[in-house]
Assembly symmetry: C2
Homo-oligomer: 248 residues x 2
């Protein structure tokens, strides 16, 4: 558990409170505390599946030359894409155009979600985290299917933690490359909102505890190259930062 002013970007202002147990089954504080700057955070969840939503912001659909979909457009990223804050995004050798996509990620809670209505969908949500839906744009264009382009190891940084209390319906979602703002959207501009997405996905596939839905990216996607530092910053949540490196 991270404690400090909500949504701060100042690691100095934050401390980590050690817990016992797992979030979905109740947690207890041990009393131990560390400064955030002194620890290496791991991915805040290891999901059994990561469900992505394509073209969920009109301006982003438009910048890639796509129509706005009439229903949520689903894709999957394999669990092996997931990395935590500070871990390197590794660029595959056979792509010349890897891009960032800043997204609000929804984390499913302990009851999971199977065929839940839009009205009851939020009862299945545990919290929210930042995600970077890293995409090899040239391969996405070539394959049509998104799987390879979005499926490389390290192509789904999430973190830095799970915020259980977020005004998800209208928060700012930004991507920064080397501290320069590249994407700057708001979740109120989603075509399909969070309850609609949870409900829709849960009617196709049962969502298990800890599963993650990436809710789509606003406009402004662009390239990242080795040596860059890329951040996803969500208002009221925090900032997820990852270095970019060539694949070993």
């Amino acid at each position: 558990v991270v404690e400090g002013p909500a949504g701060t970007d100042d690691p100095e202002a934050l401390t980590i409170a050690e817990i016992e147990g797992v979030p979905f089954a109740g947690i207890q504080f041990t009393g131990e505390r560390w400064a955030l700057a002194d620890v290496q955070l791991l991915p805040p969840i290891l999901p059994s599946k990561v469900v992505g939503i394509g073209r969920n912001y009109a301006a982003h659909a438009s910048e890639l030359g796509n129509q706005v979909p009439s229903a949520p457009l689903l894709f999957l990223k394999p669990p092996t894409t997931v990395i935590g804050p500070g871990a390197p995004i590794r660029l595959p050798v056979d792509s010349k155009q890897v891009e960032h996509e800043a997204e609000l990620a929804v984390v499913i809670g302990g009851k999971g979600a199977r065929a839940v209505s839009r009205e009851k969908a939020m009862e299945s949500v545990f919290g929210y985290t930042c995600a970077n839906d890293v995409t090899a744009r040239d391969q996405q264009r070539a394959d049509i299917q998104f799987t390879r382009a979005k499926g490389y190891d390290s192509f789904c940084p999430i973190g830095p933690w799970i915020e259980t209390d977020l005004k998800y319906a209208d928060v700012g979602v930004q991507a920064l490359v080397n501290d320069e703002v590249k994407q700057d959207g708001r979740t109120k501009d989603m075509i399909f909102d969070v309850p609609t997405l949870v409900s829709y996905v849960s009617h196709v596939m049962t969502l298990l505890p800890g599963d993650v839905i990436l809710t789509g990216t606003p406009s402004g996607v662009g390239p990242i190259v080795a040596g860059d530092s890329v951040s996803v910053r969500i208002e009221g949540l925090g900032t997820l930062t990852n270095p970019v490196a060539n694949r070993a």
Copy 2:
């Protein structure tokens, strides 16, 4: 462990030998045995990911009006699609055209596979099983992305067991609906063979022990409806049979 004549379709001829331990860490026989007809088999593996290969038989690509791809075309089915022999395939209410796709499934072994060469790829394979890559064809056409159409709970029957010794390069792969043969292909007609697929996928995403690759379907795909019984039969391996039912 199932014992009996290789590839038989006669459950009377087969017995189950009980084991202790897990396949990737060494197994021991307990000495207990049952008739296959007296047990309910579960999925022989619960994979962390199921990687599908699209259009890997020229005649099937052609029957859906698609070109033969120049590289393996990857997609993912969520682990929640996996069911075992005898479990019902549940038809979603919002598809009017659910189809069978008989496939040879490759099961990755205990060492996993990360960026393995084609020459070393088979060292990462534990064995083979039958799979039915059930697909809502109308939704596949509508979405372009395959995820929803192939992602419903129960849309990946696998089994009846894992055969560790199979002449994978040239075996018959059939689909039968109510005992009528609908698909009848041979793995030698794959565009990309098994070692090529394992190598290719492993260069994108790390394959973990137990992960499954569906190697594509031959021509002859067609509809299944509630009340049908659909089987995938692979020469030298066995037969996977599932009833078809409406979603509850």
